[in-house]
């Protein structure tokens, strides 16, 4: 039971950290200053949420684990994030679409997690939900603006949909450790949030004049530690300092 709760908490932490790291890659490279600031703020919210989950996971594991050892000293196979969070940023259309698909998922997810029988997970969800509300609003505005924009922006958003859609199925497939916790009311029942996500995505896509792909194939494995080749590169960059200079602080 405790092992499952640790794995589940790490899964939530890894999601937030990985997408936070990806978004932070935009810092200094955004299309205009205001949007550079926006995506950097969203990155910061993700990393902050990750810290809350890692601190909780560390308190559950004991054995000298800290938020830093969990973030910086675990390898690819230990990471449990959803694959969509580790994919490269691509262009602005791909980044904002990924944010929309993931933030919308997080929005409905945290609404349910707020009711978790685990009080700390519920508290982190309550805190995070307020931040994610702003992320959904910002990212859906970009999806609509690009999809219903020029021929070029529409084409780029359509390409992003093709690129990312196969990674959305995984959002709703529970991992082994998750199933046990759903039964006890700790974890979110993904079948409850799937129709809510589909409805919201369908509404925004229709405003963006973009069709929902009818493909149903789902890339999966991230939650169980089986990742795309991209995660290794993220960790190589993110973990370099702690690997080269163990315990370094500033």
């Amino acid at each position: 039971m405790n092992a499952s709760l640790i794995n589940y908490t790490l899964h939530l932490a890894d999601n937030a950290l990985t997408i936070g790291h990806r978004n932070s890659e935009w810092c200094g490279h955004g299309p205009v200053l205001e949007q550079d600031i926006a995506i950097s703020n969203i990155a910061l919210d993700g990393i902050g949420q990750a810290r809350n989950f890692y601190q909780y996971a560390a308190s559950l594991s004991g054995n000298g684990a800290t938020e830093d050892t969990l973030a910086y000293l675990r390898d690819v196979i230990d990471y449990k994030n959803l694959l969509i969070t580790e994919l490269p940023n691509g262009d602005w259309a791909q980044t904002t679409l990924r944010q929309f698909l993931f933030s919308t998922y997080q929005y409905f997810f945290y609404q349910q997690l707020e009711k978790s029988t685990d009080r700390q997970l519920a508290a982190i969800a309550e805190k995070s939900l307020k931040e994610v509300t702003y992320h959904v609003r910002w990212s859906s505005e970009w999806v609509i603006r690009l999809g219903d924009g020029t021929e070029e922006s529409h084409k780029r958003l359509s390409n992003a949909v093709t690129e990312l859609w196969n990674y959305t199925g995984e959002l709703f497939i529970p991992a082994s450790y998750e199933k046990e916790l759903i039964a006890t009311g700790i974890a979110v029942d993904l079948s409850v949030i799937q129709p809510l996500w589909q409805q919201k995505v369908s509404n925004v896509f229709s405003e963006a004049t973009i069709a929902i792909p009818d493909k149903s194939f789902a890339q999966q494995g991230g939650k169980e530690g089986i990742h795309t080749e991209h995660l290794g590169y993220i960790l190589a960059e993110m973990q370099f300092l702690q690997r080269a200079y163990p315990g370094a602080e500033w």
């Binding site: 205001e34 926006a38 703020n41 810290r51 910002w138 859906s140 505005e141 925004v204």
Partner: protein, 175 residues
């Protein structure tokens, strides 16, 4: 029945007034009390006949980098006031809201050039392209202002511009 000794409440009063001097490093006109992030102050008697403050704080945003600096600031003023032991706890629930900001804090923000959060909270929903709230320019008091971005120089602020005095300004957004 537990009788709370008088000196404990005196110590608590002293701690509250010390906290008034700890400010937000990014908005230095606001004290931690103005921000509404101090949730509880308790005092424990220690073996050496000393008092140990236990202070509960809540973050404004999950990733707010000011929180660590604020904890450090609280620790520093308590040490300077002669407390040897202390505990600073962080709670996440109930989640911080701009409604906890003091009226005095809102006035200080405006005087500092940051539009304070509205007295009546706008409901924050995820819907795209909502009608924006009217925000008053802290420089010229005009209501003729436009949102530039929901995300500003720190997590807690949005970026606006005034259509009358043409100055950009920060708005401490409702949360």
């Amino acid at each position: 029945m537990t009788v709370i000794p008088n000196h404990i409440t005196e110590t608590e009063k002293k701690i509250w007034s010390l906290l008034e001097t700890v400010t937000d490093p990014e908005v230095p006109v606001l004290s931690v009390l103005d921000l509404g992030i101090i949730r509880d102050v308790k005092v424990q008697s220690t073996e050496e006949n000393n008092f140990k403050p236990i202070i509960t704080i809540t973050p404004t945003y999950s990733g707010c980098p000011a929180m660590d600096v604020i904890s450090m600031g609280i620790r520093m003023v308590l040490l300077q006031a002669g407390f040897k032991e202390m505990e600073i706890k962080q709670v996440l629930s109930p989640a911080w809201t701009t409604e906890w900001m003091s009226a005095e804090g809102k006035d200080k923000l405006k005087a500092y050039g940051i539009a304070p959060p509205q007295y009546k909270q706008a409901v924050c929903t995820p819907d795209a392209f909502q009608q924006e709230e009217a925000i008053q320019c802290p420089q010229c008091n005009s209501w003729h202002t436009t949102l530039i971005s929901q995300f500003g120089s720190t997590a807690c602020k949005a970026l606006y511009k005034c259509e009358d005095c043409k100055e950009p300004f920060d708005y401490f957004k409702c949360h």
